[in-house]
Structures are given as structure tokens and as C-alpha cells.
């Protein structure tokens, strides 16, 4: 997230000339490098602060420093545990996210476009959207068992509501003149829904999907903390029993990294494949 002035400054030909090793000429490359630099500097600063704090605190069990955490991370990777946990969490999210996005988008588009649908479904949607997915964990376990099913169900639930609301907002944001123009040009209601409403709302739906992705991480971690035998949430919470705070930190950091990467990946994919539709 560089500011506009940074980008402009870096992209100007004058600045390009003064870059050390003048082969770095492309403006995009420069922006990318500057972002990378920022992350590296910020990460370094945090690691240093963390290290100082942990040394001061002087209790490797209660508050391990970066070195100890890194060591533990390598151990977990060697054991294959970390990869297994990552895979377990990501898998659950993926399926739930895909299904939930589809349902949420369709329902939201329908609710936004057809008053009958909105009138019928709104009271139910407006109540259930305030019930966090994790409130249903006990129910989900009873209905779907202790395995993947319950977690995926919760993620579908979480994703559906977020995407549904975004889709509804997207539809309401479609400029009236777009619909009017379509009517002038001979489109009937079905054609307007298909060729105007859906493409025009797609940007909002994608934004909603991005938020739902983040929400899904939150949900899956909660669900895994309560009832699972693999996954990042499980890793984090379970390590408490053995006072393995370093494992806890590894789990949390991994969560951050995986979450950040999936988010960036999502933006990248949608930006290239769906450039004409996205607001991202």
C-alpha cells in the first residue's frame, strides 16, 4: 500500500536515472521493490523489538524470542506437522469459500433485483447474519460429525452472508441510467438481470468475497480450537496444554502469512482475470 506520491515519484524518469544500477528502469518493478523494502524494514523492526522484549522478559517458556520461535518452526516443518496443519485449514476454507460465495452471490443478486425475494428473505437474513458461525459449532458437530463436514458447513455459512450482503449492495449501487439505457435498447427484465445487473455488481461481489475469505480464516481457527485434531487453530490452542508457547507463536505467524498470501493471491487473480469488472 504505497501512497500515490511514492508511486509517482518512483515512476518519474528523473528518479529512474538516479537508481543505483540503472538497469532497474521499469516503474512497476520499482514500485514492487519499494513495497518489498517497506515490508522487509517493518518486519526487521518488529523482529528486533520482539527480541529485545523477550530478552527483557527473560522467560523462554512464557515469551519466546524470534530465534526460539524460528527454531520451533523448523522443527515442525521437519516433522511435517506444520504443512499438515496448513493444508488442513486451507482445504476447509477453500471448499466452504467456493460454495458459500456461489450461494451468497446468487441469493444476494436475487434479493437485490427482485422485491418479492427480498421481502421474503430479508427478515431471516437480517437475523441470522448476526449469529456468528462459531455459535453454531455445537450444532454443526451434532449434524455433521467431528470431522471436516462441520468445519466446511460453518465456513459456507460465514461466507454466504458476507457475499450476500455485498451482492445486495452491489445491485443497489448499479446506476439507474444503466438500467434505463438497457430498457431503451430493448432489453427485458431477464436480459437486464443477466447483462447489466450481474456484470455491474461483480466488483462488489468480489470485494465481498475478499472479506469473506478473511472471515473464513477467523471461523476455521475458532472451529479448530474447539473441535479438531489438525489445523492451525488446533496447533495454536492445543500447544497450550504442553505450554509450548513457541509452537503457539509459530502457529499464529503462519496464520498471518497464509492469510496475507491468500488475500494477495485473490487480488492478483481477480485483477488479471476479471480486470474489467473489478473494483479491487
Amino acid at each position: 500500500m504505497t501512497s500515490k506520491s511514492d508511486t509517482a515519484r518512483l515512476a518519474s524518469p528523473a528518479f529512474a536515472g538516479r537508481q543505483p544500477g540503472g538497469w532497474i528502469r521499469s516503474a512497476r518493478l520499482q514500485t514492487a521493490l519499494s513495497i518489498l523494502l517497506r515490508y522487509v524494514v517493518a518486519a526487521a523492526a518488529i523482529v528486533v523489538a520482539w527480541h529485545i522484549f523477550s530478552v527483557r522478559f527473560d522467560s523462554p517458556v512464557l515469551f519466546p524470542g524470534p530465534a526460539k520461535t524460528a527454531e520451533r518452526a523448523l522443527e515442525l516443518i521437519a516433522e511435517g506437522r506444520l504443512q499438515g496443519d496448513i493444508l488442513a485449514s486451507v482445504q476447509r476454507i477453500f471448499i466452504g469459500f467456493a460454495v458459500g460465495s456461489l450461494i451468497g452471490a446468487l441469493l444476494g443478486l436475487a434479493m437485490g433485483s427482485f422485491r418479492m425475494v427480498s421481502d421474503l428473505l430479508s427478515p431471516l437474513v437480517n437475523f441470522f447474519r448476526f449469529i456468528a458461525p462459531t455459535a453454531w459449532i455445537a450444532t454443526a458437530m451434532v449434524w455433521f460429525g467431528l470431522g471436516e463436514g462441520s468445519k466446511v458447513a460453518l465456513i459456507i455459512y460465514a461466507t454466504t452472508f458476507v457475499v450476500l450482503l455485498s451482492a445486495m449492495i452491489g445491485v443497489s449501487a448499479v446506476s439507474r441510467n444503466k438500467v434505463r439505457a438497457a430498457r431503451c435498447l430493448g432489453a427485458n427484465d431477464r436480459q437486464i438481470f443477466l447483462w447489466v445487473t450481474i456484470p455491474a455488481s461483480l466488483g462488489y461481489i468480489l470485494t465481498g468475497m475478499r472479506m469473506a475469505m478473511m472471515n473464513s480464516f477467523m471461523t476455521v481457527v475458532s472451529a479448530e480450537m474447539i473441535a479438531a485434531d489438525a489445523g492451525l487453530g488446533y496447533l495454536i490452542y492445543n500447544s497450550r496444554q504442553w505450554m509450548e508457547t513457541d509452537s503457539i507463536f509459530v502457529g499464529m505467524l503462519t496464520l498471518g502469512v497464509v492469510g496475507l498470501l491468500t488475500d494477495r493471491l485473490f487480488v492478483l487473480l481477480t485483477r488479471t482475470a476479471l480486470r474489467r469488472f473489478s473494483l479491487l
Binding site: S175, A181, A182, R183, C184, L185, G186, P199, R276
Partner: protein
């Protein structure tokens, strides 16, 4: 004017908004307006006098509360491809479609096959001067070009009537002048019937065969109609242009002052 000449006909048109308190706000009352086939009619008036409402009624976006509105003898019941609107600004264009695809839209809705669509659209793009820009997206085009897309989009459907609601208001002065001249020549070539709304007197004189100056509301109607006999292409520096401008300006000023006085009184 004889009835047989009339193509578009507003007879005693009333239109109101119901305010929350229940009292009706009459936008138009007893509006009479006849437009001939192939005529370029400009509706001129101060802001908020109901000219856009008149256009919306003809477009079929709203329904009149009283009176008769007919096109070629048939009542207007809803929007149709015979009366395409060209909107102010660019929010009626589809940003996810290229210029070409935007122009093709009406044909696509009518089920015209793709190759035929593409040919017709390209022809219209050439006609409005966007022949090389068809593959670009609206966001990559200037304001003037975007308005041309709208015109092409209407013409490709062979729309006999063009409804234009201050289409050039959002453009800079130079682009506006260029588009005015181009629109005038396009209309001469296609013989379209045009209802054009503006509050700019100069624009009205450049474009119109006839100008209707509207009374300010509430309950607006046409105050006075002026035939514009100046030969085309019209030049803004012409003395005839200037004297007509003064004449219309006087008529219009009365209404503008009335609006101002009413706003001050409301405070």
C-alpha cells in the same frame, strides 16, 4: 401547425410528485407540445422547470397523470428502441464492455447474430468518428468520445427519435462546441427526430429547428416557441445568431428571475 404534421404529441400533460405530507407538487401542468418528423426540437428552460420530466415521460420512464402522449399516433407505454435516450455523463455506459460492445448492446438484446452485430457497430463507430477506438473501454476514453458512443449506440438500432438530456453539460467548452456541430450534421444526414434538453441558449440556437422556452414551475408548460431559420452550418459569430440570442435571453431571464425569487421566498 397541422395535426398531420405532428409526429410526437404532448396534449395537456400533467405530472406531479406526491410529497411526504401528501400535498402534490405539480411539475408539469397542461403541457402542449408538438414535434414534427425529422425536426430538431430544443427544450430550453431554467433548472428544475420540468424539462427532464417531459423527456422522461416521452422516454417511457415515467407515466403522466393527465393528458395524452403519443408518438406517430400510438400512446407511449414504456421505454422502447424507437426512442433511445442519450444521458448526461457516462453512467449509462457499461464499463466492462468495449466501445464496440456498448454500441452492439441493443442489437444483442434483439438477438442479432454476432458477425452482423460487429459489422453494424463498426459502421456506426466510423460514422461518429470513433472508427479506431472500438476496442477501448469507456474508462480509457474522453468525455466527448463517451457521448459519441451513446449516439452510435442509439443510431445502430435505427432509432427514429433521439432523446437527449443535456448530453454535453459535463464536457468542457471546446469539446461541447465540437460535438454540437457534429450532432447537427449527424441529424441532418440521418433525419432523426430529436428532443434535446438544455439550459444553454447558444447550444439551442446552434442545434434547433425550433426552440421551446419553458415556463418555470410549479406546473410548467411551454411559454413561447421560436423558429430558428438560420442556415446550417450555423456560426456563433453570426449577427443573426447574436440578435436571436438576445431575444431568447430576455424571455428566459424572466423565468430564471422568477425561480430565484421563489427560492429566496422559500427561505
Amino acid at each position: 401547425m397541422q395535426d398531420t404534421d405532428s409526429y410526437i404529441s404532448f396534449r395537456q400533460i400533467d405530472f406531479r410528485y406526491d410529497t411526504r405530507l401528501g400535498t402534490p407538487n405539480w411539475i408539469l401542468k397542461g403541457l402542449d407540445l408538438e414535434i414534427r418528423r425529422g425536426e430538431f426540437y430544443v427544450l430550453l428552460g431554467p433548472s428544475g422547470c420540468g424539462k427532464t420530466t417531459a423527456l422522461n415521460l416521452l422516454a417511457g420512464f415515467e407515466h403522466a397523470h393527465g393528458g395524452q402522449l403519443t408518438v406517430d399516433g400510438h400512446s407511449v407505454t414504456g421505454p422502447g428502441v424507437d426512442r433511445v435516450v442519450i444521458f448526461q455523463g457516462d453512467d449509462s455506459l457499461y464499463g466492462w464492455l468495449t466501445a464496440q460492445e456498448n454500441v452492439e448492446f441493443g442489437l444483442k438484446m434483439a438477438g442479432v447474430p454476432a458477425t452482423e452485430r460487429r459489422q453494424k457497430a463498426q459502421r456506426q463507430l466510423d460514422f461518429v468518428g470513433l472508427g479506431q477506438q472500438g476496442h477501448k473501454f469507456p474508462s480509457q476514453l474522453s468525455g466527448g468520445m463517451k457521448q459519441r458512443i451513446q449516439i452510435a449506440r442509439a443510431l445502430v438500432c435505427n432509432s427514429p427519435i433521439l432523446l437527449m438530456d443535456e448530453p454535453f453539460a459535463a464536457l468542457d467548452a471546446q469539446t461541447r462546441a465540437i460535438l454540437q456541430d457534429e450532432l447537427s450534421s449527424i441529424q441532418q444526414r440521418t433525419s432523426s427526430t430529436v428532443l434535446f434538453i438544455t439550459h444553454d441558449i447558444g447550444e439551442a440556437i446552434i442545434l434547433a429547428d425550433r426552440i421551446g422556452v419553458m415556463r418555470s414551475g410549479p406546473g410548467a408548460a411551454i411559454k413561447e416557441e421560436i423558429e430558428v431559420d438560420l442556415p446550417r452550418p450555423r456560426r456563433r459569430g453570426d449577427p443573426a445568431f447574436g440578435s436571436l440570442y438576445d431575444r431568447i435571453h430576455e424571455i428566459l431571464s424572466e423565468e430564471v428571475t422568477r425561480v430565484l425569487r421563489r427560492e429566496q421566498a422559500n427561505q
